[in-house]
Symmetry: C2
Subunit: 361 residues, 2 copies
């Protein structure tokens, strides 16, 4: 008895007396019945349910998902890791993920990695401690990612977004065909009459997509008998208009045999580059054509709409989540046998003709 009293006293002063247990008491039913009213209503008689519901309403009952999750050993929380929200492409993807999650009754926990593998590890560990049921991830480099290997080893379900898995790999991924779409984009440049075309990218090491898109560029060039030119590799994937960066761009575009068209591996970069060119006294597309990649909405809102390779960003997010939930529903336990199906979902890309590409002068 004393023990009991002590135990009660130590209880952190019920911040919320509205527990299921109290609801049950108020409705004169057992805890089990009260629980069922919320999780399996069909198992309880109409009027009993109503009584419980009324009691819940009066007490202002709000289910504590923590208890439920702990017991159920599944949280219905999905971890999402994206490089940054400040690049609209990921904000658009997030929207797709969030809508899909909402529709399916899942919650999300978002972390950003800033394209930093070290930080990727830490943030994912964090998600793991929260016992997320699975994750939607965009990593710097899927092919050599220690953290992905770890996730595989621990059998944590995840789906890559934007990172494109190999055609017959074991990893799930949702993306466009980076290489083919980049090639298609560059081909529009070639079709416009450009011969000297260069890639502008953030650090290739920090983005497998950038590398794949670069490969697509090479495909296009070679297919048309053109010599791939060395790329302009900038430090970041989002533009910083530091003097150093501006100077690098200046040197690049004013060299003796400067390119007549630039293929930027993402739209933000393209936007930044266009502005730098302008500042350098070059007109776009008069003196230099610029093609982006991503298809962010913003591109269409600009004074000079951005010509770009469009990815269905919302859909990439939504499909990635759907793919993850499908995994969760099915062979969650014990990883179903490989059905020989490709696990890399490729969504169609499109080309958006803006006003930043024209025939060379």
């Amino acid at each position: 008895m004393i023990r009991k009293a002590a135990a009660i006293a130590t209880t952190p002063a019920p911040p919320n007396g509205a527990t299921l247990m109290n609801v049950a008491k108020a409705a004169s039913v057992s805890l089990a019945t009260a629980s069922r009213v919320f999780s399996n209503p069909e198992l309880v008689r109409q009027d009993t349910a109503e009584r419980v519901l009324r009691a819940a309403g009066e007490l202002g009952f709000r289910p504590n998902l923590l208890g439920a999750k702990l017991r159920a050993q599944r949280t219905r929380i999905i971890g999402v890791m994206l490089p940054t929200m400040e690049n609209a492409v990921f904000a658009e993807c997030w929207r797709g993920i969030e809508e899909a999650a909402l529709a399916q009754g899942y919650s999300l926990m978002l972390v950003t990695s800033r394209y930093d593998p070290q930080r990727e590890r830490e943030r994912i560990e964090y998600l793991l401690r929260h016992r997320v049921d699975g994750m939607v991830l965009t990593v710097a480099d899927a092919a050599r990612s220690a953290v992905l290997d770890q996730l595989d080893a621990e059998r944590v379900p995840y789906v890559l977004a934007y990172n494109q898995g190999p055609r017959s790999g074991k990893r799930y991924s949702v993306s466009v065909d980076n290489r083919a779409s980049a090639r298609a984009g560059v081909e529009t440049l070639i079709a416009a009459g450009h011969r000297r075309i260069c890639v502008v990218s953030g650090a290739f090491a920090a983005s497998d997509r950038a590398r794949q898109r670069h490969a697509g560029y090479r495909d296009a060039m070679r297919a048309h008998g053109l010599e791939p030119l060395p790329p302009l590799s900038l430090p970041a994937h989002t533009p910083t208009q530091t003097p150093a960066e501006v100077e690098r761009i200046r040197q690049f575009v004013t060299a003796p045999s400067a390119p007549t068209a630039l293929f930027c591996t993402n739209d933000m970069l393209a936007i930044g580059v266009i502005s730098v060119l302008k500042r350098l006294g070059l007109s776009v597309p008069g003196d230099m054509s610029v093609l982006g990649y991503d298809g962010i909405e913003l591109g269409q809102l600009l004074e000079r709409p951005l010509s770009t390779v469009v990815q269905p960003n919302n859909e990439i997010g939504a499909r990635a989540l759907a793919c993850l939930l499908a995994q969760l529903d099915s062979g969650n336990a014990g990883a179903g046998p490989d059905q020989g199906l490709t696990r890399a979902t490729l969504l169609p890309h499109a080309l958006r003709a803006g006003a930043t590409v024209a025939p060379p002068a």
Copy 2:
């Protein structure tokens, strides 16, 4: 015995045998000691701790935060509700929040409301069920928000971001002085020689900031003996360049006594408006000056850098979180007495001269 066996069998097949309990066994210590090694290491002897740590390492132990949270009655999760991530201003704010949270060991749960009060209610209820310790919120209209009233009633700690609380209100908020900063912005327009200045905004009903900024506009106009003009109120806070919207803008800017300068209540809107003007054959700032509000980074990266009123977005997020944690640490229980301090933190704004404002023709 039978019971016991049954109970074990029903356990959802340990997806993770690496529990604290098992670590404790492996290290031949009690559960309590093992727990202390992680939460209060100073309470346990060096070598004991090492043994536990080693065992944990071998078993691949990862603390299950769910159990800890349930027991501790605090989750160390902060709920964040922002209107949308697709407006960079909120993406920048998120960054500030995330960095601050990371530094303090808090996790975040992000939801977006799309400027929709109904959705605000639902999403917040969601956060509440997850037992977040507190929230950082940007709501459509803080002054008449049912959900905020509810949060007050339930004594859920929260801090508003962007929504500006009244000088001596009871609510915590972190923002700039919307009215004063807007006034300062419009005054730069007046200083440039403009007399006919109009506000362009998304639906005022859906944003108290838009209304406050509009009030600042009126202040500026009146202070300079100018007649406030009727605003152009667009349906959304982010631009959609639908034919209908373009047409509305056209009528507005080609009317007999059309304005010579436009003050847009946010940067995204300004960017969209500039592009529409261009399409309508008007040059900015030649035929029309445009001033934005928000100071998103993107504004500086544009071909024609956006003139705008700058808010410290990262800092708004970081400070809002800090303010929330301060609340949590102190009078979490029982809402400390009103210290007469203003709970509305006002951060300094700035004016950024871009290239979209010039003297009227």
